[in-house]
């Protein structure tokens, strides 16, 4: 189901899926794990380019115990960051490498023009996972 904005604005032609609306509004993984023990961070993108994210992962043994994000971007991007954090929790570092941006794009019904923004998320995830690798 797609939800069209009712506002009379230049984005009124953009349709957001019900999942985008839900994830954007809840965003229960928003936040920072700065200073938290066993937490690592991956960062990618730039505000000036329209999408920027800092992904925080707190590991216990080899598994993500908590995932959090700070992000600047459109509703699709913020929803994708929320979805990524939700997916990442309780996964091993090896499993994190299987994250597939195109599946998220399909899940959120992202317009093709916006899909490249998911690569920013992928970069942040790889960066965070890489930091874990270096720490081990």
């Amino acid at each position: 189901m797609n939800v069209a904005l009712s506002a009379a604005n230049s984005f009124a032609t953009v349709d957001y899926s019900a999942d985008v609306v839900r994830l954007f509004k809840q965003a229960c993984h928003a936040g920072s794990l700065a200073g938290i023990e066993h937490a690592v961070c991956g960062q990618a993108g730039m505000r000036a380019k329209g999408a920027s994210v800092r992904l925080w992962l707190q590991f216990r043994d080899d598994r993500v115990q908590t995932a959090r994000f700070e992000a600047y971007g459109c509703p699709h991007f913020l929803a994708a960051a929320e979805a990524l954090c939700d997916w990442a929790e309780h996964r091993t570092r090896t499993e994190l490498e299987t994250w597939n941006w195109s599946e998220v794009a399909a899940y959120l019904a992202m317009p093709p023009a916006k899909r490249a923004r998911l690569l920013v998320l992928e970069d942040a995830l790889r960066h965070a996972a890489g930091v874990v690798g270096q720490n081990r």
Binding site: L5, S6, A7, A8, N9, S10, F11, A12, T13, V14, Y16, F24, A27, A30, G31, S32, Q43, M46, R47, A48, G50, S52, V53, R54, E70, A71, Y72, G73, C74, P75, L78
Partner: protein, 387 residues
Amino acid sequence: MNIYLDYAASTPLDPRVAARMIECLTSAELQGNPASVTHAFGRRARELIEQARVQVAQAIGATPASIVWTSGATESDNLALFGAAQFHADRGKHIISARTEHKAVLEPLKKLEKQGFKVTYLKPDTDGIVQPEQLQAAITDQTVLVSLMHVNNETGVIQDIAAMGQLCRTRNVLFHVDAAQSAGRLPIDVNAMHIDLLSLTAHKIYGPKGIGALYVRRQPTLGLEPMIVGGGHEFGLRAGTLATHQIVGFGTALQLAIAECETDNARVSTLRERLWQGLQAVGGVELNGHITQRVPGILNVAFQGVEGESLMFALHELAVSAGSACATGSDEASYVLRALGRSDQLAQSSLRFSLGRFTTEADIDAALEIVAREVPRLRALTGQDLP
């Protein structure tokens, strides 16, 4: 809950205007073609149209014969620009306008450039004001036409039209003004302001959509090349059967707007100030455009630290505009705000709140409650030190 704060895009129809229009649509006596003056049905419709022409003319200090009905300000702008440029091309092929004009002016100008005209686009100050000295410096012997808007549709900033008009008249250059946002809100006197062509529309002043007018100076008569031909209507400048109910609605709406201008402006100013104070309390906001030289109903605000599309989505209960509502389907930063020197990022994070006759204190308070809830939430999502 949906709160309408988009009066600069279009105003709701005033019930008093609607009543007059319904009368026109339902009365058997008014079903004739206003051009069919050979019978009573046509003559009665024509009579009402001429009454409306007087109402519109009086509102801008013009004579009724100088009012040409159009479908709205966009058509008026097109007729003024193409009509004047083409008719007077032998006098020169230089036109002056501003970067912050509406697309209804900029796009015809682009077409005229392709036809061999040279256009100078004046750059406003960071407050959105174009200085008369800039216009003076830009006028050359080849300048045939100047086109400037009275009030900017995005920022609400008012230009010094009288000073610009004086300059144009002194240099024998035609002067076109888009008054879509100012008519009925600010005093307009086409003679005192030396305006040769003036674009008007009904749906910004609580009238119906789809009707507007172009004032064309008659003394001395200004030549204009028509764009729509086929019947010789409207003094040969705009062919087509006139829509009696629309025109009557326009005349009534403009008459009401003039009569209630002072009270409307005072009330809307108070509401706008309440809104601005409330937005400032949220923090991290900047006003776009001149702080005082503006119409009461428009407040354009940049929200720092939030992304534009997410801001609009978070505030979807508010019917507000990002950039121009006429430029639909684009998430590009507003060219008007970019012309004022705003960064792409800040221009994209700007919203236009526009208020009007039916806005209430409760609307403003409810809007502020939503902004105060959503903007900090978005900022918290972002984290302030994110690059």
